[in-house]
């Protein structure tokens, strides 16, 4: 695993594939770690479960987090990220299906950094990166 990992917590294979495609097609070559449910995402971040022994000092530069997830839902994952000193400062972008979802997430006031309406496309993604000031962290490879 190299630095500047992007963690995608998403259970829908189609969405995963589309996100992977969008990133690749837009020349974003940061390693993408996909967690297919909330628990797996949490395990990855805190080096637990399947990810036991992972060096938790090296955390992803951004977490793309779906809300509706098996096991732990997105909001619970977010809550744990914000509750732990190791992960508190990681930018979290919520992937929403609707404005409805955005409202719900905003209502919890859990320090969401931004929202991306699915499917993730290049425009939204770059806009978000710009908003978050993460641009320099995202690896742009020449096509």
């Amino acid at each position: 695993m190299s630095d500047k990992t992007i963690l995608l917590v998403e259970d829908n294979p189609s969405d995963i594939a589309l996100t992977e495609r969008a990133l690749k097609r837009n020349n974003i070559s940061n390693p993408l770690v996909v967690a297919q449910d909330g628990q797996e995402g949490v395990d990855y971040l805190f080096g637990e479960g399947a990810y036991a022994g992972r060096d938790t000092a090296r955390q992803p530069v951004v977490v793309l987090l779906d809300l509706k997830l098996p096991k732990l839902d997105g909001l619970e994952v977010l809550r744990r990220i914000r509750a732990d000193a190791r992960t508190r400062r990681i930018p979290v972008v919520i992937l929403t299906s609707s404005r409805e979802e955005q409202d719900i997430a905003a209502g919890y006031d859990l320090g969401v950094n931004s929202y991306i309406r699915k499917p993730v496309d290049f425009q939204q993604f770059t806009e978000t990166v710009r908003q978050l000031g993460l641009y320099w962290l995202v690896i742009n490879e020449a096509p």
């Binding site: 829908n12 189609s14 969405d15 589309l18 495609r21 097609r25 809300l67 509706k68 299906s97 609707s98 404005r99 409805e100 979802e101 409202d103 699915k118 499917p119």
Partner: protein, 634 residues
């Protein structure tokens, strides 16, 4: 004598009570007695005088005939003697005369001797010879008293009549005199006394006789009576005053008074006592039976139980509430109070005095109040029950609603996530196909692909619109004062920016303010301005106005202050106006004006939630104006 008690009582019985008649009778009886006595005395005297006259005649015979008889006897001349004797018998009342010789042998006689009832006299016969008296014999003369009796008897009637008449006249005179001098005044005094006892004492007694009359017994009686009248009058006035005072106090306060003499059963009921029950003063008998007749049987039993304590001396006061029947048969509530004012030696009540007070009105008011309180309580209970029922219903409904809301929320979420997810795939992968393999498809293939993407996009919009509509319907309002002009300006700028190729002129009235939820009102403005822009797409320039003016809503009587959004676009036929605000209702074909048919339904829902209304005026090809009010429009 007439003073004997039997006679007095007989008199009293037979002549009656009149003093005059009694007096007359007494006088009559007395005078008859006196008359008889005096007549008897007079007759006795007359008889005595007659007898002495006869005696005197006898004596006269002696003096008249002694000498001549002596000489006749001396001369022994019997014829002469006999002649002389016959002459003697002519003297009244003399009936027998005889001449006796010295041996007592009768020489001559005349008349007949009766032997009884006679007065007799005898005298000697002397012949004087040579101055010497020679005794020759005796002469005896008898007088008859029956003549005197006859005379007496003939006098009796006359004497009786004259005496009686005299006494009767004297009696009558005395009687008249008495009647005039005493009886008349006595009657007047009696009449006056009657008047006095009847309470009329305005005039002092004045007898009908000269005022200068001496102070006799009658005057003393009159003086005494007048003095008594004055004292009685004063006492009476004082009594009246005192009675007036307590009567005024009691009756003025509406109390009737009763005065119960327990042994006799007599009860004096006052005027007010009677009036209270609708009777005139003294209309009912003053007896305890009147009370028993009018008091309610139930109360009466209780009343007499209470009274019993007074009668036997264990209590001196009496008070209770009871019903009394009025003259018209209705019942009145009476407070009866009383106290024992007189007791016998055993302490039992002899006399009680008390009052009756009508408290029907108060009692009725109390009953009415109690009834009202009761019904109010019942109403309160019913209300409470209704409230509880309603509350429980409301709770139940609220719970149902909450459940429904949650379900709706879950459904919305599910739709938003689950339906959109495959759609996202269709859209995403068709895009991928277009981008990655578009070059390998011919024009027709690329067109099909574009149609897939367009339809997917439209479906996404429909889902979004539906979710938005649901969201707006259930989001709690957070109203505050909004600057509608500024909000409209932002929306207009966004629209202009999204369609830079079009010429759109927005005219927005300044300083429009309203109370509302910022996000929802923003949605209203967005939808209406977006609509206006959409339907005026064929105009260049498109003219869109947002402002406020007076307008009359459909079915409304008065113009109201309404916001409006006006365009110069396609407009619509007013006969379809009713369909404007229905969900998924469209007035135009989608190839003319794209749209989901949800926008205006959403707007109407928001306006209604703000307590306002929305309506439109339009004509085909002459633009449309949408009016809306908000509850808090200022």
């Amino acid at each position: 004598m007439p003073s004997s008690p039997t006679l007095l009582s007989w008199l009293h019985k037979s002549v009656g009570a009149s003093l005059g008649r009694r007096l007359a009778a007494i006088i009559l009886v007395f005078s008859v007695g006196v008359t008889l006595l005096f007549t008897a005395l007079q007759l006795g005297v007359e008889y005595r005088r007659d007898v002495s006259e006869i005696a005197a005649r006898l004596h006269q015979v002696r003096s008249s005939y002694a000498d001549s008889l002596a000489s006749s006897v001396w001369t022994a001349n019997p014829a002469d003697v006999q002649l002389q004797l016959t002459g003697i018998l002519r003297v009244p009342d003399l009936q027998y005369v005889e001449v006796l010789d010295e041996q007592g042998k009768a020489l001559a006689r005349a008349g007949h001797s009766l032997g009884e009832d006679q007065l007799s006299d005898s005298f000697p016969l002397y012949f004087t010879q040579r101055k010497q008296p020679v005794y020759l014999g005796r002469v005896r003369v008898e007088a008859n008293l029956s003549g005197a009796w006859r005379r007496l008897q003939s006098k009796v009637p006359l004497i009786l009549v004259t005496q009686s008449l005299q006494i009767f006249l004297v009696s009558l005179f005395i009687l008249l005199l008495l009647q005039r001098q005493v009886g008349r005044h006595l009657k007047q005094i009696a009449a006056d006394a009657d008047k006095l006892s009847a309470g009329r004492m305005d005039q002092p007694l004045q007898l009908d006789r000269p005022a200068s009359a001496v102070q006799d017994e009658l005057s003393q009686v009159v003086t005494a009576m007048n003095a008594m009248r004055e004292r009685v009058h004063q006492a009476f006035v004082q009594l009246q005053e005192s009675e007036f005072r307590w009567k005024a106090a009691l009756e003025g306060a509406g109390h009737g008074v009763w005065d119960f003499h327990i042994q006799t059963g007599e009860v004096v009921y006052s005027k007010r006592w009677m009036e209270m029950l609708g009777f005139a003063e003294n209309e009912l008998p003053h007896h305890i039976d009147t009370y028993k007749r009018l008091a309610h049987p139930d109360d009466q039993r209780l009343a007499f139980r209470v009274l019993e304590a007074n009668f036997n001396g264990s209590s001196k006061r009496y008070a209770m509430e009871q019903r009394m029947m009025c003259k018209d048969g209705s019942w009145k509530w009476i407070v009866a109070r009383g106290m024992v004012v007189e007791q016998d030696e055993q302490g039992r009540a002899v006399r009680m005095i008390g009052t009756h007070t009508d408290f029907t009105d108060r009692r009725n008011a109390e009953m009415e109040m109690a009834r009202l309180l009761e019904s109010a309580e019942a109403a309160r209970a019913a209300l409470r029950e209704v409230n509880e029922t309603m509350e429980s219903q409301v709770r139940e409904r609220t719970a149902q609603l909450e459940r429904a809301n949650k379900e709706l929320e879950a459904f919305s979420y599910s739709v938003s996530h689950d339906l959109r997810s495959p759609l996202r795939g269709i859209d995403g992968w068709s895009l991928a196909l277009q981008e990655d393999y578009g070059a390998q498809l011919d024009a027709t293939g690329r067109e099909y692909l574009a149609r897939i993407r367009s339809e997917a996009s439209r479906m996404g919009q429909l889902i979004d619109g539906m979710l938005e509509f649901a969201r707006l319907s259930r989001t709690a309002l957070a109203p505050r004062t909004l600057d509608l002009s500024a909000m409209a300006a932002v929306v207009a700028e966004r629209i202009r920016a999204s369609q830079p190729q079009r010429q759109i002129r927005f005219t927005i009235e300044a300083a429009l303010q309203a109370e509302g939820d910022p996000r929802l009102i923003e949605a209203v403005l967005h939808n209406l301005l977006e609509n206006a822009s959409k339907f005026s797409a064929s105009r260049s320039p498109a003219q869109i106005v947002f402002g406020r003016r007076q307008a009359t809503p459909p079915g409304g009587a008065q113009p109201v202050d309404a916001f409006y959004v006006q365009d110069n676009g396609a407009g619509f036929d007013m006969q379809f106006a009713a369909k404007l605000f229905g969900v998924f209702q469209r007035l135009h074909r989608s190839n003319e004006f794209p749209g989901t048919g949800i926008g205006l339904a959403t707007v109407q829902r928001i306006v209604q939630r703000h307590g306002g209304q929305i309506w439109a005026e339009a004509a085909p090809e002459h633009g449309a104006t949408f009016f809306f009010t908000l509850g808090g429009t200022t």
